[in-house]
């Protein structure tokens, strides 16, 4: 491939893409043929229970882990062989940051800023102040929450085009969490950054995510725009006497003790629910993402 063709491919490629990613730990399947592509400027919330494979998926998509099969690409480059220019466009915050812990935050920022032409010194200074982090304390001595905040600042300061956050809010208090979400939202909306963040706190995701992906037992069950998810799926409850007429659903079905049945259904292109919703006694409940997630993941 000549240089121009390569540049065109890189410009049009999804910022982050997984194709058929499959991975096992011992005999346990943690990723089962996962296909996932992020559109430029989108904010994808990756949701799943603890142990669903979120961190493994993120690590495999970034080339930090070699999957048993399948491929991952960052800006069109194979994730396992990223070039330095592509790495510069990427910001990643792992769930438990521990790199460079013997430095103070100020030392680390000073060191890292030399590698990034777009490093935002002002943002670093303002944010550390606002988040009340002592820049001259050795990072190993910071609390887990402070450590996570330092790492978020580190990932945001180079103004990356692709930002990947693994459970970014887990150690943050509500105020800092809201502030982080604001930062994510505005960067995506204004700077056109693409964001992937994993969480099990659904309300965080509902604020800022444009798209949502449900990962359950290593499989991707759902991947669509947040608004559409809310408008397209609902829970259909059928009393026992008509429960046999329940439509098939790949997403979730539960039989209750009295013989009644709940099933997750999808509306058609005209917004109409399946025929069974018009049976006598049938009820349709629209769902927030958290309820939908619980129904699917149970």
């Amino acid at each position: 491939m000549n240089v121009t063709a390569h540049a065109v491919a890189a410009a049009t490629a999804a910022p982050l893409e997984a194709r058929g990613l499959t991975h096992r730990y011992d005999s346990k399947v943690v990723l089962d043929h996962v296909d996932l592509a992020l559109q430029p400027g989108s904010v994808l919330g990756l949701i799943g229970r603890n142990g669903a494979g979120k961190s493994t998926l993120i690590r495999a998509m970034l080339g930090l882990l070699e999957p048993q099969s399948g491929d991952a690409f960052v800006f069109g480059e194979p994730a396992l062989k990223l070039s330095d220019p592509v790495k510069e466009r990427l910001g990643y915050v792992p769930q438990q940051p521990d790199a460079l812990a013997w430095l103070t935050a100020a030392q680390m920022f000073d060191y890292l800023s030399r590698f990034y032409p777009r490093w935002d010194h002002r943002f670093v200074k303002d944010t550390l102040q606002r988040w009340k982090i002592e820049p001259d304390k050795v990072m190993a001595k910071l609390s887990p929450g402070e450590r996570q905040r330092v790492d978020l600042v580190r990932a945001l300061a180079p103004q990356p085009e692709l930002l990947v956050l693994d459970e970014p809010a887990s150690a943050l208090d509500p105020v800092a969490r809201r502030e982080l979400l604001r930062e994510i939202a505005l960067r995506a909306g204004e700077a056109g950054a693409t964001v992937l963040f994993s969480t099990h706190i659904v309300s965080d995701l509902e604020r800022v995510a444009s798209d949502i992906a449900f990962l359950h037992e290593g499989r991707l069950l759902l991947h669509c725009p947040v608004d559409e998810t809310k408008e397209r799926y609902a829970r259909l409850w059928l009393p026992a006497n008509v429960a046999a007429a329940a439509p098939t659903s790949s997403l979730g079905k539960r039989r209750h003790e009295d013989g009644s049945l709940s099933v997750i259904v999808e509306c058609d292109a005209n917004g109409a629910w399946p025929d069974a919703s018009r049976l006598p006694g049938a009820r349709i409940d629209t769902l927030g993402l958290e309820d939908l997630f619980v129904e699917i993941a149970e």
Partner: protein, 127 residues
């Protein structure tokens, strides 16, 4: 108008962009937002509520297409000054489609025949 006038409930089953349009509709109908009043920018709303700016843009565009808002060149969005009389009855009926569908569904769930429901609705509308 201040961005804090809006309330966002992210966990609701109603998408955020619809929540915004509904509130604008109410605030305008109730006179809290007079014609010509400038709306906060997309950035202000997104920043204040920590929501995706694209969601706010979508809400504003929908409100504009419904004639609630108008785009002022160089100033952003404002409450429409001219009540759009050009909206046909069909267009106005379309706005009622969702609540009517919800009403029909609930009536069915309660196993009510159409006749008494329609009578009641008629009375509520003052006929």
């Amino acid at each position: 108008m201040d961005a804090s006038l809006l309330t966002i409930q992210p966990a609701s089953a109603e998408p955020i962009y619809r929540q915004i349009v509904e509130q604008l509709r109410r605030l305008i109908a109730g006179g809290q937002l007079p014609p010509g009043e400038l709306l906060p920018s997309v950035r202000e709303v997104a920043g204040f509520h920590a929501v995706n700016p694209m969601t706010v843009s979508r809400a504003y565009s929908l409100a504009e297409s419904e004639g609630l808002l108008e785009r002022l060149r160089g100033k952003g969005m404002a409450v429409a000054t001219t009540r759009r009389t050009s909206q046909t009855q069909t267009q106005r009926m379309a706005l009622l489609e969702a609540p009517l569908a919800a009403l029909a569904r609930q009536a069915r769930e309660l196993e009510l025949p159409a006749e008494p429901v329609l009578q009641r609705l008629s009375k509520l509308m003052g006929h």
